[in-house]
């Protein structure tokens, strides 16, 4: 394995005593103060995440929309300028390539934000399926990204920009805004279940952006937060993670993301037939939530049972600091995925009681 890539924020992570790990080929902090403290920090105040590992791809040209309609399952034709849409993308057999965000500048110009671990594979997949008048540009290597999340994030951002960030609505973006003297894309998005923003800038401006946000954040208790807490936050908020809830074997339908699969749109997107067949035949498994009734943490791969036998497995699980109990996303036989149903999780050969609950586990008040 080659050395993991450092992001432009590497030295700041070391200054804040981040524990650095190799994540999808990137050298990133898994934690700073501690996962529990960082989760609560994000829910109560504000958190700064280095998410520069995310991949960014520009799609441009007259044929851009037609291309996106074909490779993505969601209906990109319904997306308006300066707005963002979430969409899975599938293989012909319905398995998932990735799940991404699509930023629309105008009808002929889009920014795709893809998962770090899938970035190379996605780009190849896009290239393979490119047709007509559309061009791709991979801008990941020169792009840094920060996520500012938590109830104080709007107040912090407002302090370092004249751009109308407070009025920016959820899943809307400003294509160009000056933040702390840096030219950025600012979107009201995130992966934590809190209010917040994601900011994209050029690598060479990245430290200036971090430092500006950091100074502005001090009076609001801003803290750097690592990947460990990010995973707990997204799980509490019921957000899927590729490789856990979505994979080449798990389609968006099984992951409960049917509302992002547009069978009604005019273009026959890749995977449509297979997904339609799955839908008509009835799903064999379905994503559900469980919470533990006592001790024990359900972790990925642990079996879920009832008195009659095994009914599914854990795809992501954790202790939730926000709820002070352990929760998990699980794939269950759809007949068993009924809220309130008592089940058990097999943890180190012992069964621990749990019950089926609705996702998300946490919703901000």
């Amino acid at each position: 394995m080659s050395e993991p890539t450092k992001t432009p924020f590497y030295e700041r992570h070391l200054e804040h005593k981040g524990k650095m790990v190799d994540y999808s080929g990137w050298n990133l902090p898994v934690q700073f103060e501690g996962i529990i403290a960082e989760v609560l920090q994000t829910r109560r105040q504000a958190a700064l995440f280095d998410v520069s590992h995310m991949g960014e791809v520009l799609v441009k040209g007259k044929g851009a929309l037609a291309f996106l309609q074909r490779v993505l399952t969601n209906n990109i034709a319904a997306l308006q300028d300066n707005r963002i849409m979430y969409s899975p993308l599938c293989y012909p057999d319905g398995g998932t390539v990735d799940d991404i965000l699509v930023y629309r500048y105008d009808e002929a110009s889009y920014l795709l934000v893809v998962n770090a671990g899938n970035a190379g594979k996605d780009y190849e997949w896009f290239k393979e399926n490119l047709s007509g008048e559309a061009e791709l540009e991979n801008i990941s290597p020169q792009t840094a990204q920060l996520a500012l999340q938590g109830p104080k994030s709007a107040a912090i951002l407002k302090a370092v920009t004249g751009a109308p960030v407070e009025g920016l609505r959820y899943y809307h973006f400003l294509p160009r805004a000056e933040v702390a003297g840096v030219d950025c894309i600012v979107s009201r998005t995130g992966y934590t279940g809190e209010d917040g923003f994601e900011l994209y800038c050029r690598n060479e401006d990245a430290l200036k952006l971090w430092d500006g946000l950091w100074e502005a954040g001090k009076p609001h208790g801003l803290a750097p937060v690592g990947l460990g807490a990010r995973d707990v936050l997204r799980l509490e908020a019921g957000l899927p993670l590729y490789g856990h809830e979505l994979s080449t074997e798990l389609s968006p339908l099984e992951a409960g993301l049917g509302r992002f699969v547009s069978f009604a749109k005019e273009t026959a997107f890749i995977g449509r037939e297979a997904l339609m067949r799955k839908k008509e035949e009835g799903l064999k498994k379905k994503l559900a939530g469980i919470e533990m009734l006592g001790r024990g943490i359900p972790r990925e791969g642990y079996p879920v049972k009832t008195g009659e036998g095994e009914i599914g497995w854990v795809s992501s699980g954790t202790y939730s600091p926000t709820l002070d109990k352990s929760v998990a996303m699980v794939f269950l036989d759809p007949r068993e995925a009924v809220a309130g149903k008592e089940v058990s999780v097999v943890i180190r050969k012992k069964e621990y009681p749990a019950k089926v609950v609705k996702i998300p586990f946490y919703r901000r008040g």
Binding site: Q31, I36, V232, R295, G296, I297, Y319
Partner: protein, 134 residues
């Protein structure tokens, strides 16, 4: 070194400590500062039933942190005579005070106990450095 290695204790390669003084017939067992730091925020601890007899290397507790699950292995042979029940409600003590309030089990030592396989402070520090370099 970023981690505290408490003086006067003996240590295992798997980062447990034993507190035993010449003449004692019991020993206290816990995990090192290095171990708690590697595990991160600890949220549950489970102990075996009291009076369980253990050999060196047997599990004497299971520790669950947000990110990982780990066994604590007995460095000695004997019978568990007490477990730190405070940890059941305050598992964070393992993170905060691993050599003090975060002690885990008390073991009545089997006769003829041999501590020569355990590490002293300097040996354990060298062991941590080696693990960090790996």
């Amino acid at each position: 070194m970023d981690w505290n290695v408490e003086a006067g204790l003996k240590y295992t390669k798997k980062h447990e400590w034993v507190k035993w003084e010449e003449g004692d017939d019991t020993a206290l067992v816990g995990i090192s500062d290095y171990a708690q730091d590697k595990l991160g925020s600890i949220v549950f601890v489970e102990f075996p039933d009291p009076d369980t007899e253990v050999k060196a290397g047997d599990s004497v507790a299971v520790i669950e942190s947000v990110k990982a699950v780990a066994d604590t292995y007995s460095p000695v042979e004997g019978t568990i005579v007490a477990v730190n029940e405070v940890l059941l409600d305050q598992p964070e003590l393992l993170n905060e005070d691993p050599y003090g309030d975060g002690w885990m089990v008390k073991i009545q030592l089997a006769p003829g106990q041999d501590f020569s396989g355990l590490m002293d402070v300097e040996e354990y520090k060298a062991h941590i450095i080696k693990e960090e370099e790996a």
